[in-house]
């Protein structure tokens, strides 16, 4: 497996939707290629960081105000 081939299936590797027979090839490539190993690990970490950290936090009072407005509009719409 080449780096280009690995890169093409990187998403499938991350999403764990790889056929068993390809997995062996991937593992062999990663043992030889430090760069691809770094790309895989840091891409996984990238997703994890964005998933676990709230970057657009809504203060509770804003959230409550918006919630009340929505429900008020819906009641009127009926």
């Amino acid at each position: 497996m080449t780096c280009t081939e690995f890169l093409k299936i990187l998403d499938d590797v991350i999403d764990e939707s790889i056929a068993v027979e390809t997995r062996t090839e991937i593992e062999a490539h990663l043992r030889k290629c430090g760069h691809c190993e770094v790309v895989l690990n840091t891409t996984r970490k990238t997703i994890e960081i964005f998933r676990c950290h709230e970057i657009y936090e809504v203060p509770t009072e804003v959230s409550e105000r918006l919630h009340m407005k929505i429900m008020e509009k819906c009641r009127k719409a009926k």
């Binding site: 990187l10 998403d11 950290h53 657009y56 918006l66 929505i70 429900m71």
Partner: protein
């Protein structure tokens, strides 16, 4: 923070279906429950697309109101959440169009860029690199990083990786093909990884040298 909904089996009814039925029967309290369940996600998606707090607040209200008014049109062959996200994405794009005084805004904007499609920086990251920053510093880094992505990549990444929609649901929501979603997702992930490496990468001399080398198959074994 992400909402990854359990995939309901064929015989298993998603809890939202019962709530939607109750709303259709006139029970507004059931809609209150649905709004509470998804308001944060809808706000986040709107904020990611519009990049503007006020617009995101307006989109959130409009999307929930529209969903309520159009609930009879909800077929139930997709999840309520996916249907709601589609409304919010469309509302967000309309809001952007207004800001840009009628200029067409689409999911295809800037997606032809080749930037970041090949990794160039191979510096490894320290374990838990986010711990070197305060919460607000980290949030600022993540905001700056994701805002730099072309819109068509950013929305795919947010729906698929942050909000936990499947590839098929993301495609359906954005009116894109599955291969288009996959291609944009890969490039979004790689571009974000590359940008975050500037903050999180360990700069040992040997690694720094590798980072400066042109990407592609330079590391091919």
């Amino acid at each position: 923070m992400s909402t990854i909904q359990p995939i309901a089996g064929q015989d298993e009814q998603h809890p939202d279906v019962a709530l939607v039925e109750r709303v259709r029967g006139g029970d507004i309290a059931a809609y209150d429950t649905l709004v509470r369940k998804y308001e944060r996600q809808i706000f986040r998606i709107a904020q990611h697309i519009t990049q503007n707090r006020e617009d995101a607040e307006d989109v959130m209200q409009d999307a929930f109101l529209k969903a309520y008014e159009k609930l009879d049109q909800f077929q139930g062959n997709s999840k309520f959440y996916t249907w709601l996200v589609r409304i919010a994405v469309n509302e967000s794009l309309m809001r952007l169009r207004k800001r840009r005084t009628g200029k067409l805004v689409s999911m295809d904007e800037d997606v032809t860029t080749e930037e970041g499609s090949v990794p160039r920086d191979f510096a490894d990251w320290a374990p838990n690199p986010e711990q070197n920053y305060t919460q607000s510093e980290l949030a600022e880094i993540l905001r700056k990083t994701i805002q730099g992505l072309p819109q068509g990549f950013r929305v795919v990444f947010v729906l698929r990786d942050v909000e936990g929609l499947s590839t098929e649901e993301t495609a359906e929501t954005l009116g894109l093909s599955v291969p288009a979603v996959k291609s944009r997702l890969l490039r979004a992930r790689l571009q974000l990884r590359e940008r975050l490496t500037r903050y999180f990468g360990r700069r040992a001399p040997a690694v720094a040298q590798a980072a400066a080398a042109p990407g592609g198959d330079g590391a091919e074994a």
